[in-house]
Symmetry: C2
Subunit: 191 residues, 2 copies
Amino acid sequence: MALEHAILVSLLEKPGSGYELARRFERSIGYFWTATHQQIYRVLKRMEADGRLDVREVPQQGRPDKKEYSVAAPGRAALSQWLHEPIEPESVRHDLAVKIRGAAFDDPAALIREVERHHRAHSDRLAHYLAGELRDFTGPEAPGTSGTPGPPDAGQELQHVVLRGGIAYERMTLAWLDDVLATLHRLGAGH
Amino acid sequence: MALEHAILVSLLEKPGSGYELARRFERSIGYFWTATHQQIYRVLKRMEADGRLDVREVPQQGRPDKKEYSVAAPGRAALSQWLHEPIEPESVRHDLAVKIRGAAFDDPAALIREVERHHRAHSDRLAHYLAGELRDFTGPEAPGTSGTPGPPDAGQELQHVVLRGGIAYERMTLAWLDDVLATLHRLGAGH
DNA sequence: CTTGTCTATGAAACGAGTTGCATAGAAGGA
DNA sequence: TCCTTCTATGCAACTCGTTTCATAGACAAG
C-alpha cells in the first residue's frame, strides 16, 4: 500500500499530473521508491474515486491537456494515520546476491563483467545524488550565506537526510562490489 | 522470476522440503531474498511440473512425512542460463524514507519512536550476521589454523562475501538512522 | 514526407507477493 | 485435559507490479 503514501507525499510537496509523477519517480522520489506510469495512473484513479485526491483539468498549449492532482483532506488524514502506524523494517530483495551464491555452481569468473556493470551503475547514481545535494542543499544552508535566517525548513532538512541515506547506500554498495570483484578474481586465479 | 532462482541455489546448496526452504528464507537466503511458505510451495509445485526439480517422499518418525526436493538437470541449466543474463541493478523500496519525507507534513518528532524501533531491529540483525560470520567463516579460514590446506572452497568464499555485504548494509543503515534521529531531534528542538 | 521523440493517458493480461484460512499428528507445559 | 508450539502442506482471494499494446497531437531532424 505504500505507493499510495509515496504519491500523497509527492503531491503534498507539489501537485502534478500522472505523467509528472511518473517522472518524479524516475528522479527524487524514485531514489527510494520505484513505480511505472501504469501503476501510477491506476492508483491515481482509485485514490480519486476514494476521495483522497482532487483533480483539475488543465488545458495546455503545444501539448496535450493534463489532469493535475492534489491532495484532498481525506488523503492528508490517511497519510497522517499511516505515519503514526509502525511499519516492518524492509525486507531486502537483492538479485545480485542470489547470482553470487549461484555462481558457486557455475563459473564464478563469468560474473565479473556483470558485477562491473553494476559497479558502473551505482557509480553513476552516486554522482547523480552528489550533484543533487550540491544543487539543492548546499546553497541556502551553507552557514554565513543564508538567505533564509532562522531555522531551516523542516521539509528541506528531511529531504536532505533521505538523500544522505541514498548517498551512504551507494558508497557502501560500491565498496562491497569492490570486495565482490576481489573475491571473484581470487577464485578465478586459484582456478 | 528470481524466487525460482533463489530456490534453485538453495536446493543446490542442500536439497530439502518446502518447509525447510521456508525456514532458510528466514535465515541465510532470507538475508537478501524473502519469501513466505505460500510462495515457496506454489513455486515448488510449478517447478516440479516443469521438470526442473525432482521430488522424493521421505517418511519420518515423530513428525509428518515430507517431500524432499532436489534440482534436476533442466533446473541446473535454467539457473546457469539466468546467471549469464544481465540483470538490472535493484530498485530500492524503502518505506521509512517515504515516512521521513512525509513527516514534513505531520509531526516530525512523532517519528522518533519508529526510527528507534528500526534502529533496534537493524542492530539485532547485525549482531546475528556477525555471530553467523564468526561461526561459519572464521574457523577453517583463519590463517595458520587451516584444517583444509590449499584454496578454500568457492561456495564458502561466495557465501562469505554475500554475508559481508549484509554486514556492511546493516552498519551503513545504523549510521544513517543515527543521522535521521539527530535530524529529527534538531527539528523538534527548534520547534 | 516519414521517422522518431516528447508529452499525456489508458486497457488488458499476466506474474509476483500477501493474508487469511484449513488440516493434522506429535510434543510439552499449565 | 487443554492449550500452545512445532513440523508439514496446501487452497482461495486479493492486491501489487510488470509488460505489452494503443492512442494522439506537437515538434524536430533527415
